[in-house]
């Protein structure tokens, strides 16, 4: 069964993405740069149960005010240095890596929004990779 983000979840991801990757100098905002059409391709192999939880969490995020969302992202970020093995910090750590992984995978990639014409994040950081095939 393929994984597909709901429209609501995609909206939630864009809100979260703008916290991780805001418009800042040459950097575009996540919403400007992200090629959301590629999202489903990037979660094709996420286990169905995990994806279903992610989809739900992102859909809920889409309804939250920015202040509360910022607080949740901050708590998730801080959980990385929390030594506790309890269920809340453990879940927050997984949320932290999962969300950042998804956002950065779109933001620092070739999968940008086709309607965005500005400098892409990979260009801002001056990343070029040569693939020489004989």
């Amino acid at each position: 069964m393929a994984n597909f983000f709901s429209t609501r979840a995609t909206k939630g991801l864009l809100k979260v993405g703008d916290i991780y990757c805001p418009k800042n100098g040459d950097f575009p905002s996540f919403t400007e740069a992200a090629g959301t059409a590629y999202l489903n391709n990037l979660v094709a192999n996420v286990p169905a149960d995990d994806f279903s939880s992610l989809n739900l969490v992102l859909a809920i995020f889409s309804f939250l005010p920015n202040g509360i969302l910022n607080w949740i992202i901050s708590a998730a970020t801080n959980s990385q240095s929390n030594p506790s093995d309890g269920i809340i910090p453990s879940t927050l750590r997984q949320l932290n890596i999962g969300l950042r992984g998804l956002c950065y995978s779109i933001y620092y990639s070739e999968f940008t929004n086709p309607n965005y014409n500005g400098k892409k994040p990979l260009e801002v950081i001056d990343f070029k990779l040569n693939r020489v095939v004989d």
């Binding site: 391709n41 901050s74 999968f111």
Partner: protein
């Protein structure tokens, strides 16, 4: 049809084993859960690499969410995405294996012929000074100043094209030149030409050994499939093989199943230099620590780097602060410490096959980590870093144990002949049989153990 041998899993162990078995003229079937990519079909981007080549769609976590595990799924297994560093074990590693397992042939004298054969069947390259890039030079020069011993890496590669401007960091998603000596290149593709039968995208979840043959059952495109071999060898890696064994009901017979898990936890720090380092250009990894005192203290340092998404993940800051760090991507020096960890982890599996990994860091692991990180800080400061990003995210690439080898069936899963205790037709040949963490790149030894088992099975 009854095969002479069925090998389940095509990574370092399964790849070499199936090659040597097939070479003898035996009828061999190699089964792999992931897809069959070739040099021209590997994902072309870092994002797709993570999404498509790894179980879990990128990363899996331990139960406490602290440590990430990177586990691949494709023909060739982890050897496709790893750096293919080919190191023999030293006496320290084998002595500790022997002490833990009671297996007498764990020694360099016995293993030499297997190492030699595998080395002869691969193209190996030891880096030279002129191949070093700035990330390596910064590391080596600082080590010299600090009195730390370092050395050039030996890697499986034939023609990386660095002199033509090829950037090898791209091969972390699969080598598109067939230069990296992955199991796919060094063994599987050669065996394929000689008749090895390969079935990809088939996930085995149950093994049924009996006195004459062994049946295996799994899913292929959502449909149940079964195969039968005179002998079945599991080589699905620490997680995969432990999962197959647990789902097949062996936990009640073999209490050590899933135990003794270790993973060489790795911690990467970034040092920011005033001039570009361009650690992602050319041959991006050429040197590592070779300091006997580091070995004695239980860690080693490697001069590594990664593409932007992975580097971004190391830096646990958000927003503008994160972007400012990423803007200095070309100025990053990078070193990681790999800890020789205690094998106190456990791979648990429920009856639906869902894995739970329990992998705390012991006090000894933390002491080793801290000593290694102190050495990294010393190197980066000596190299002139204006800032160090001390990432607290850590991960395991070398997944070992879960089905360890030993003489005592109450403390191990396979006997010194690689046979599952009490079974005549079921064997295991991958990193899951490692009794404890060697503190050395495990790839060459996994391949060599595959050669040893092939030699034994063909007698």
């Amino acid at each position: 049809m009854i095969y002479d041998f069925i090998v389940v899993g095509s990574g370092s162990g399964g790849g070499s084993l199936s090659y040597y078995l097939n070479k003898s003229g035996a009828k061999v079937l190699l089964i792999e859960a992931g897809k069959f990519y070739r040099k021209d079909t590997f994902p072309k981007t870092e994002a797709e690499t993570s999404a498509h080549l790894y179980w879990g769609g990128g990363i899996e976590f331990g139960k406490d969410g602290k440590m990430g595990f990177l586990r691949t799924r494709m023909v060739g297994g982890s050897s496709i995405v790893y750096q293919c560093l080919m190191d023999r074990f030293d006496d320290i590693a084998f002595n500790d294996w022997r002490a833990e397992s009671g297996v007498e042939w764990f020694n360099n004298q016995e293993m030499d012929k297997h190492y030699t054969q595998v080395e002869n069947d691969m193209v190996l390259h030891t880096f030279q000074r002129e191949e070093m890039r700035r990330n390596g030079i910064l590391f080596a020069d600082a080590c010299d100043k600090l009195g730390y011993k370092w050395g050039f890496l030996r890697r499986g590669q034939s023609n990386c094209g660095a002199e033509k401007g090829n950037d090898c960091v791209g091969c972390l998603g699969g080598c598109f030149r067939d230069s990296k000596q992955s199991s796919l290149v060094a063994f599987i593709q050669k065996a394929e030409k000689e008749g090895l039968e390969i079935v990809a995208e088939t996930e085995i979840h149950k093994v049924e050994p009996n006195s004459n043959t062994c049946k295996i059952h799994g899913l292929q495109n959502g449909k149940q499939v079964s195969f039968e071999g005179k002998k079945v060898i599991l080589a699905g890696g620490a997680f995969g093989t432990t999962r197959m064994m647990t789902m097949s009901g062996f936990k009640s017979k073999l209490p050590a199943l899933g135990k003794n898990f270790a993973s060489h936890p790795q911690f990467m720090w970034l040092g920011f230099q005033n001039e570009p380092v361009d650690a992602h250009k050319g041959m991006f990894q050429s040197v590592a620590s070779k300091d006997p005192s580091f070995r004695a203290q239980g860690f080693k340092l490697e001069n590594v780097f990664a593409s932007p998404i992975s580097i971004g993940m190391l830096m646990n800051v958000t927003g503008a602060k994160h972007q400012e760090y990423m803007k200095k991507y070309r100025y990053m020096q990078c070193i990681e410490v790999a800890v020789r960890d205690e094998n106190i982890g456990e791979i648990q599996c429920d009856n639906k096959g869902k894995l739970t990994i329990v992998k705390p860091l012991s006090d000894q692991d933390k002491t080793r980590r801290d000593k290694g990180l102190q050495a990294i800080e010393n190197i980066m400061m000596t190299a002139g870093a204006n800032e160090i990003y001390k990432s607290n995210f850590y991960f395991g690439l070398h997944l070992m144990g879960g089905c360890v080898m030993g003489t005592d069936a109450s403390k191990s899963v396979v006997n010194p002949e690689f046979q599952v205790h009490g079974e005549k037709t079921l064997y295991i040949a991958d990193s899951s049989i490692y009794p404890n963490a060697p503190g050395i790149n495990p790839g060459l030894t996994i391949k060599s153990l595959g050669h040893r088992l092939a030699t034994q099975l063909l007698k």
